[in-house]
């Protein structure tokens, strides 16, 4: 078991601009760290550098106390589960799981014992003599997990291990991975696209974009205190509404509403800014501030629905209970609590320590 430390890690492929221009990330011992971010942002590259499958162009990579920049993959005592499972097709499940032990010249009796123990834990016992071609996708995934577990590594790496499974199996395997981490407590780094996986599995989540780390934090922190519009929009479904606003004195004007700001808050804000509001913070009831917009479209999701509102060129989504959904084509008036507003500068950075006190004195004006 070990912590992982990335200091100013750079990855450069050939002459092009660095894929990862300098990444700092500390993963604690026993932590389950999830890497998320849009496609091509460098999640796999980061993971593969930790694994030793990709060289580190610059910076310091440590596992435990050891500097591993130049340590071969096989020497790092790391196990990795691949998206494609990467099972050896010509070997039985047993041989697949025993491979790593055997190349390390573990005695046969010990190999048998360890493989069988792991197989038992994962319910793979009846499959030991089959070849990967004779297994279902879920079983293969389980074997890939087993192969990683059997060596008792210091670190587990997962690169989108569940993306080839159907929704139901995915939930089931997710639970399994969570259980394994609970019982074994091995430091894990998990790459995924899937927010739900990230939220449910991760002790902490690192959000990446364009090779840069946008924010690291527990799922709750990322949701409630995003550092920037990217994180704000990345976490939560549907994403946070962001639209531009203008401050004029203590008045904040946006396409949907105009409110009066407390003086302290107003002082901290620039005149041009971006305003964020989560769709789930809107409703038709309550005493808070109101906003107006034209209903362009309605989406029903069962017990709740989405209303798409437009004011001029600006759009906004609201998540409402079914009975609150307005009619398409009508002008709707929705209510929100100004305390739920987030403020970002025009570069998308959160303007810290700004929230609107629930004054209840906010003025309402009709949106343009």
């Amino acid at each position: 078991m070990a912590s992982i430390s990335l200091k100013k890690i750079v990855k450069q492929y050939g002459q092009q601009a660095a894929t990862i221009p300098g990444l700092d990330l500390e993963i604690r011992d026993g932590e389950f760290m999830v890497l998320v971010g849009p496609s091509g942002c460098g999640k796999s590259t980061t993971l593969r550098m930790i694994a030793g499958l990709e060289s580190v162009s610059d910076g310091e990579l440590r596992i435990g106390e050891r500097l591993v920049n130049d340590v071969a993959a096989g020497e790092r005592n790391i196990a990795m589960v691949f998206q494609s499972y990467a099972l050896y097709p010509h070997m039985t499940v047993f041989e697949n799981m025993a491979f790593g032990l055997r190349v390390r010249k573990t005695p046969d009796a010990k190999v048998r014992e360890q493989v069988e123990a792991t197989a038992r834990a994962l319910g793979l016992e009846p499959l030991l003599q089959r070849k990967p071609g004779e297994l279902s996708g879920g079983q293969r995934q389980r074997v890939a997990l087993g192969r990683a577990l059997v060596r008792n590594p210091d670190v587990f790496l997962f690169d989108e291990p569940l993306s080839n499974l159907d929704a139901e199996l995915r939930t089931q395997m997710r639970a399994e991975i969570a259980r394994l981490h609970r019982t074994q407590g091995t430091t894990s780094v998990y790459v995924t696209h899937d927010q739900v996986e990230a939220m449910t599995l991760g002790d902490r989540i690192a959000i990446m974009n364009g090779g840069r780390l946008m924010q690291v934090g527990t799922p709750a922190e990322l949701y409630s205190a995003p550092d920037n519009t990217f994180v704000a929009q990345f976490m939560g479904s549907p994403p946070m509404n962001i639209f531009s606003g203008q401050r004029d004195g203590t008045r904040l004007r946006t396409a949907f509403f105009e409110i009066e700001l407390p003086t302290a808050t107003a002082a901290a804000l620039p005149t041009e800014l971006q305003v964020g509001l989560r769709p789930e913070c809107l409703s038709t009831t309550g005493t808070a501030a109101t906003l107006n917009g034209r209903v362009e479209m309605i989406e029903c999701l069962g017990h709740e629905g989405l209303a798409y509102l437009a004011a001029g060129d600006t759009q906004l989504r609201a998540k409402l209970a079914m009975e609150q959904l307005p009619q398409t084509g009508t002008d709707a008036v929705l209510r929100f609590n100004p305390a739920d507003l987030y403020f970002f500068d025009t570069n998308g950075e959160r303007i810290a320590a700004t929230s609107v006190e629930p004054a209840g004195t906010a003025l309402e004006t009709a949106g343009a």
């Binding site: 694994a51 030793g52 096989g74 790391i78 691949f82 050896y88 010509h90 190349v103 192969r147 060596r151």
Partner: protein
């Protein structure tokens, strides 16, 4: 009307198939003439035929229809057509087959009744002798050829008069270091050895008995060794080497025939003279090959054909052949025309004829060529003394002759020497079809055809083609292997040739791999052993080399595509060309390989003299030819292995070697197996490489089964024995293929 189009296409396919089976019949007023002439000689012949058609033929109402047949298939075509009465009325062919044809009957007609004394006066005595066999005349001589001395006039102003002069001169013009030689000729070729052999009394005595171990014949071998001992002659001479040296001014004199003249570089000023006299005053007397005009016994117009023969040997025709055709006409009158007399080359060859000997036209002679070549090679290389070589030659050929004579004896005892009709052969497929068409089978087949009518009609033409081109020859070969057919009894009824399993017993029960003088290289089991060793060594090396290169090429590096194309090139060049190039590279004196060895300070290797070195030459050539295929197959296989398997293995700490052993190799198996099967079959039967590079040297030790079968069939003319050999090869490969698929299926099932 898509249907109509389809049926038209099918009809066209059927017509193609059918037309291949039909041959047009000849018209009554035509005289058919077959020949294998090309170029100038063909032009001269066609001029003459035109003249004949306009004059003599016109008057008698006959037209000559000539047919030029490719030289390679000419003899076979004649042997197949003439005894069955389906050949030409007359044909032009070398005289040395007369004996065999005369004995087997029905192939050439005796012409004593036609040939008047006046006509015979046209030809010198040796040429008349050449056309006679056992007191009968079989046709008239047309043109002749023999070797003479061709010399570079810049180096040799006056041709030498005696052999001693010739060698002294040759020695003076030799500079081995620079690759210059005084004298070059293909002295290991029996035809060229004729000059020495005939001066020593010839291969056969006056009454036709083999005498290649006579003191004269042994003396001829000694003389050859003495000539070579001067160092004035290049080693391993081939016709390309001889003419190449002469053209580069690196050979002062060569012994060669008129066929070389057209290849001589125009910058070389050359002269031709008869071969010199030996020390005892006897002339060197080369063999003369005579082209004769022969009548078919089945000709329906013998008179008209004979008129053409007389016309073609007339003085006028001889002049045309000499001038336009650049030939040496058999009619001596040609050489008294001023046009020809002014040609010193033609006159020199004519003069050589006076001391030349026609090649014996005995059937026995055909059995001598190949063994004589082996004896010459052994003498030259010093693996046998002239006495030993001559004794073994005499014994071996005499045995073949005895077999042949016994067969002929049996033939003359039989009254029926009619050509075997072809139609009984049709009974076999007919019987097969009849069997297939009985009872329920017929209904099932008919239903199948009905159901897949379109498919069947598309497959039909190809199936018939296969039947004719593959299965029929196969069945014929199989049948032949149960007979004792040779060149001399081919046309007799099959029943008289039936020999049951004799050939197989003879081949398989001969366990005498060794005798007192060493390994018997013509033993089946020796050859089988060599073939298996050949196959395994080649397979191992091509797979290893292919694997190594594929692994190297599988990694990206600069210029990879270029390297890949370069490595595929050996495969893209026709293999016989590559084989000939390698043969040249291995030449002991001129080959680049030995030059390199010498450069490195080694001694030149006599590549074709020992069993292992000679084996090695074939292996190198074949590996060169074979590795690109393996490389491509393996490269394809490597690219199907997902890279994440290697990553997973790296994560688990597997070394490169472990990755290769545990992942690469097992995952290559499915691609490699079929390639190995194919490679085994190709290599097992890799005729070209063996035949063209080592040619089985030394003494047939490195022949593989298929080249051995070829030699038995086409150098010894033991067709049936060769068929049995080929059948055994076929069975061996079949057994291998079955075994291999079994094994593959078993391992697949085990997966």
């Amino acid at each position: 009307m898509p249907d109509l189009r389809k049926y038209l296409q099918i009809a066209a396919l059927w017509l193609l198939g059918a037309s291949a089976l039909l041959a047009g019949p000849a018209s009554a007023e035509e005289i058919r003439l077959w020949h294998a002439y090309r170029g100038e000689e063909k032009a001269a012949l066609e001029n003459l035929l035109e003249r004949f058609n306009a004059t003599v033929g016109h008057n008698s109402g006959h037209t000559v229809i000539p047919l030029a047949i490719p030289f390679d298939s000419y003899a076979d075509k004649l042997s197949a057509a003439l005894p069955r009465g389906r050949g030409p009325d007359l044909f032009i062919f070398a005289h040395d087959r007369i004996g065999g044809w005369a004995l087997s009957g029905n192939t050439i007609a005796a012409v004593d009744d036609f040939a008047s004394a006046a006509i015979l006066e046209r030809f010198p005595q040796p040429l008349r002798d050449a056309m006679s066999f056992e007191g009968k005349l079989y046709g008239l001589p047309f043109n002749f050829k023999s070797v003479a001395l061709i010399y570079n006039r810049d180096l040799v102003p006056e041709p030498p008069a005696t052999a001693a002069d010739m060698l002294a001169l040759a020695k003076r013009h030799t500079d081995q270091a620079r690759g210059h030689f005084g004298l070059a000729f293909e002295y290991t070729e029996p035809f060229y050895h004729g000059a020495l052999l005939n001066a020593g009394g010839g291969a056969f005595s006056a009454d036709g008995e083999l005498q290649v171990d006579s003191s004269g014949a042994v003396g001829a071998l000694h003389t050859l060794r003495e000539w070579l001992a001067t160092g004035a002659l290049p080693s391993e001479p081939t016709s390309a080497l001889v003419s190449g040296l002469f053209n580069q001014g690196r050979a002062a004199m060569v012994i060669n025939g008129p066929w070389m003249l057209s290849e001589i570089d125009p910058t070389i000023d050359y002269g031709v003279a008869p071969l010199p006299l030996l020390d005892n005053g006897e002339p060197l007397s080369p063999w003369a090959a005579v082209e004769g005009l022969f009548l078919s016994p089945a000709s329906k117009h013998p008179q008209a054909a004979w008129a053409l023969v007389e016309f073609l040997t007339s003085d006028e025709a001889a002049l045309e052949m000499a001038t336009t055709g650049k030939q040496l006409p058999a009619n001596s009158a040609a050489f008294s025309f001023p046009e020809v007399q002014q040609n010193p080359v033609a006159m020199a060859f004519r003069k050589q004829l006076d001391t030349a000997q026609p090649i014996p036209n005995l059937a026995e002679m055909t059995l001598l060529w190949t063994p004589l070549r082996t004896a010459l090679q052994r003498t030259v290389k010093g693996t046998a003394t002239p006495e030993e070589a001559a004794r073994e030659l005499q014994a071996g050929v005499q045995q073949d002759i005895d077999t042949l004579r016994a067969q002929q004896q049996a033939l003359t005892n039989q009254q029926n020497t009619q050509a075997a009709p072809l139609w009984p052969w049709l009974l076999i497929p007919a019987g097969l079809i009849a069997f297939l068409l009985t009872g329920t089978r017929r209904r099932r087949i008919a239903a199948g055809l009905q159901e897949h009518r379109t498919a069947a009609s598309f497959v039909g033409p190809a199936a018939i083609g296969m039947l004719v081109l593959v299965f029929f020859p196969l069945a014929y070969g199989l049948l032949l292997s149960f007979t004792d057919t040779t060149m001399f009894n081919e046309h007799t009824p099959l029943s008289s040739r039936w020999a049951g399993l004799d050939n197989y017993v003879a081949i398989l029960s001969d366990w005498r791999i060794w005798n007192e003088s060493g390994v018997r290289f013509d033993n089946f089991y020796w050859t089988l052993g060599i073939t298996i060793a050949w196959t395994l060594v080649n397979l191992a090396l091509t797979v290893l080399l292919g694997l190594g290169l594929a692994l190297a090429l599988n990694k990206p590096f600069r210029g990879r595509n270029l390297v890949r194309v370069l490595l595929i090139l050996p495969w893209a060049i026709p293999n016989y060309i590559t084989a000939l190039i390698w043969k040249g590279l291995f030449h002991p004196q001129f080959g680049a390989i030995n030059q390199f060895v010498v450069l490195l300070g080694g001694d030149p290797v006599a590549w074709f003299d020992t069993v292992t070195a000679s084996f090695f030459t074939g292996v190198i050539t074949n590996v060169w030819l074979g590795f690109p295929f393996m490389m491509l197959v393996i490269l394809g296989g490597l690219q199907t292995i997902p890279s994440d398997l290697y990553e997973a293995a790296r994560m688990e700490g597997a070394s490169r070697w472990q990755q290769f052993r545990r992942i690469t190799l097992p995952m290559l198996r499915p691609t490699l197996l079929p390639a190995v099967v194919m490679s085994v079959i190709w290599t097992f039967n890799m005729f070209n490489v063996i035949y063209l590079v080592s040619d089985g040297a030394p003494a047939g030790a490195n022949d593989i089964l298929i080249t051995k079968a070829f030699r038995i069939g086409f150098e010894k003319y033991q067709y049936a024995y060769a068929s049995a050999y080929s059948t055994i090869v076929l069975l061996l490969l079949l057994a291998y293929a079955i075994w291999q698929t079994r094994v593959t299926r078993m391992t697949e099932a085990a997966k």
